[in-house]
Symmetry: C2
Subunit: 413 residues, 2 copies
């Protein structure tokens, strides 16, 4: 696998494959950029850094101290002698995006670069509009750039398992064969997004599928589950390479949040009945899945969909796991049910297929006591950095209004 | 039916229902505004008039001479003594939209106000982006305005049958019951938009469905077929009330275009094999369907979907019909197959349900020789206004590029 960044075509001299990581300063993107660089891919990061701006505006901070992207790539160079090219700009600006394509000439584009928080998209009207505009137009621009400048480039796009909602039938990987009134067709699996963020991903998927058909774009849609964990082999190499770890009510995701809550003695915040079941994966599997997708590209015109997660858990199951492992570490972990700020089913059927990445070779890191242990220990290590005011959910699906919502530095909401 | 604009609740004095028509200066919207005003609804038109700007920019003109919206509503007042309020502005501007809601206080909003041409959305990158931005953000704003200012207001949103694409199974009205691996659920019918325009409607439908669930919005999505015809009872009352009639390759729709082609002796332009089958309806049924939807509103939280068309035809069938009726009028109508500028199936199964509006009382005007006769005669009447350079398709699904495409006044393309 160590040579997977090289192309071994018979006729051409082997040259490293070039991967553009849009959103490469973020949680999944940064870990992926380092991993692929390590695997001898030529890597460029494209990021507007807008996520750092959201944190400033909402008064949030990563649990882990993170360096600037400039220091991150410099440190990587000094440690490994590998260069990660950096293009700072907004992919909604097509002129900027065109320049990155012309200059870097990617063979694959991994597109993580979206506003990715469901609660953020439900804060107020302007953030709802921002989310859909940023994500949908950004992705359209990427599609146009591929068509215009790098026709053969493989798009690996991050979607989310949340696009499917919680149907009462098994969730398939992107498509479902339907028998209806004596006839049969295989059609896009019905989507039911449950926030303006999730919906933006549904819109993206529909747009990408169309361009595969109309223009012959080759694309892989990774419907990713909820990612947990903080370290990967590469981010562990130096503190300046440390990844972000969100625990707040806006950007923090389920398991990561619980670990921090346990570390600071805050009761685990289970929304409503806690029966919400979702797919989860370790961040070390995120980087592995992306590498597998790149190494086995979709065909021209193919819109390929993988469900990218390794295990299903309900929120209550996660709370029990964290409680159990917390006890071993001497933490007294309590659980509290908070009124669900979201509109979602709290008890439902859930069975989602996730075999395609395994068929390509994914070796899952399943959630184990030792992993939970290390995430919990990481949270304990940085617990003085926790701002407990950011723990409770502050965004309500039903109360979203049209006035810009300002965030007070002194209150919960 | 003449009193249907009044609310006859037991307790309240009857007051006319207030209907806001977004896009009320357009083809469907103008006919609907007059019809509802005639039926004693209080009507307001909200329109940015951007469609008139597109025509200027692309050098296109309605076959029929149309008056300014200001003269239109003044003429209506002088003929009927009925006032149609006019708000000129862009619904993507939320401040403007808020003012219209606060001032007019609609009971229903009929939303026609989108960029509605598939070819327009495929001219170049910036028009693709404009289409999705204009349509998706405009609709999001309407949803937010309803939630904030008129919670109980019924949204009647124009979608298109094109959202479904051409699946190999029967098309249902919005939802389909799927049996899969021994379990059953009724889910949103899978969508396969085939242009950035059609996709914008798919995005809208998904966004609206979510707000019905999350906020209790009441909405009816009218998946409309291709509209033909030019006159309605009200637009016939005076030449200043005349509706627009598009025949060009960008905004003209199938049957209307054929009538104009026949009138000027241009061969009917069948794209590819001509087996493309779609649902069609008379513009007099558009206004009837919208009235039925308003008079029988969706319940709070309900996302109701109607397939709004009355008959299915293939392009070849339409060509034969126009040829036959043309002959009776002494026209020598030829047909030519032009390379299909679109990416679409040219021979396919098509069977779409359309019973819900009939159950509410729709009495269809089926396509008859006499209607075709009158549309053809209308085309003949204005044939000196036809710009034959606008007849051939000039926009290619595959050739769309990133450079702004300027339209030359002297050439076909
Ligand atoms: N973290 C999860 O649990 C999870 C789960 C499922 C899917 N995903 C998806 O994976 C992707 C990455 O998620 P993440 O957790 O790393 O998010 P993140 O917020 O940490 O990173 C996203 C990055 O994209 C950048 N970005 C946003 N809009 C941009 C634009 N218009 N131009 C350039 N850069 C832009 C941000 O600055 C940020 O660095 C997202 O698309 C997300 O939806 C994440
Ligand atoms: N004409 C058809 O055959 C047909 C078929 C199916 C569906 N539809 C749908 O019906 C609706 C009306 O179609 P039409 O043929 O009357 O189109 P049209 O172009 O004649 O009218 C649309 C009107 O909306 C206005 N508009 C567009 N964007 C706006 C914005 N952001 N703010 C305010 N006003 C805006 C335009 O100025 C125009 O007057 C559209 O949504 C269309 O998609 C039409």
């Amino acid at each position: 696998q160590s040579s997977s960044g090289f192309d071994h075509k018979d006729t051409e001299p082997s040259r490293p494959k070039r991967v553009m990581i849009i959103g490469g300063d973020g949680y999944c993107g940064w870990a992926t950029a380092l991993h692929l660089s390590k695997q001898n891919y030529e890597v460029a990061i494209v990021d507007s850094l807008v996520r750092r701006l959201f944190d400033h505006q909402l008064g949030l901070e990563s649990l882990t101290p993170i360096s600037s992207i400039h220091n991150r790539v410099r440190r990587w160079k000094s440690l490994t002698d590998k260069t990660i090219e950096l293009f700072v700009g907004d992919i909604c600006d097509f002129e900027f995006l065109s320049e990155t394509f012309k200059s870097f000439e990617p063979d694959s584009v991994v597109h993580f670069g979206e506003q990715r928080s469901a609660p953020y998209s439900m804060i107020d009207r302007s953030r709802a509009v921002f989310t859909q505009n940023n994500n949908v137009i950004g992705t359209l621009n990427v599609l146009f750039a591929i068509k215009e400048y790098r026709e053969d480039c493989h798009l690996v796009k991050l979607g989310t398992m949340g696009e499917y909602g919680t149907p009462n039938i098994d969730i398939e990987e992107g498509y479902i064969t339907i028998n209806h009134n004596g006839r049969t067709d295989t059609l896009p699996y019905p989507k039911q997004g449950s926030s303006f963020y999730h919906l933006s991903k549904v819109h993206d998927s529909n747009n990408i599928a169309f361009t595969c058909k109309a223009w012959g774009i080759r694309a892989t849609d990774l419907n990713q589950g909820v990612v947990y964990g903080v370290t990967t082999d590469e981010t562990e190499m130096h503190e300046e390479l440390c990844n972000r770890f969100d625990y707040d009510g806006v950007f923090g995701t389920a398991l990561n949040r619980f670990c921090v809550q346990a570390a600071v003695g805050h009761p685990l915040t289970v929304y409503g009945k806690g029966g919400q079941t979702r797919g989860y994966l370790d961040i070390r599997d995120t980087v592995q899945c992306v590498e597998l997708a790149i190494a086995n590209p979709a065909q021209p015109g193919e819109f390929r969909v993988f469900n990218q997660f390794t295990e299903q858990f309900s929120v209550n199951e996660l709370a029990s796991l964290v409680t159990k492992v917390g006890k071993k570490l001497g933490l007294d972990v309590k659980t509290t049910s908070v009124p669900n700020p979201r509109v979602e089913a709290e008890e439902h059927y859930y069975n989602a297929k996730h075999t395609k990445l395994v068929e390509l070779g994914l070796k899952p890191h399943l959630l184990s006591d030792s992993l939970l242990d290390s995430v919990l220990n990481n949270a304990i290590r940085f617990k003085d950095r926790v701002d407990t005011k950011q723990i409770m959910p502050s965004v309500s699906w039903k109360k979203i209004g049209v006035k810009p919502k300002t965030v007070s530095a002194y209150s919960n909401n």
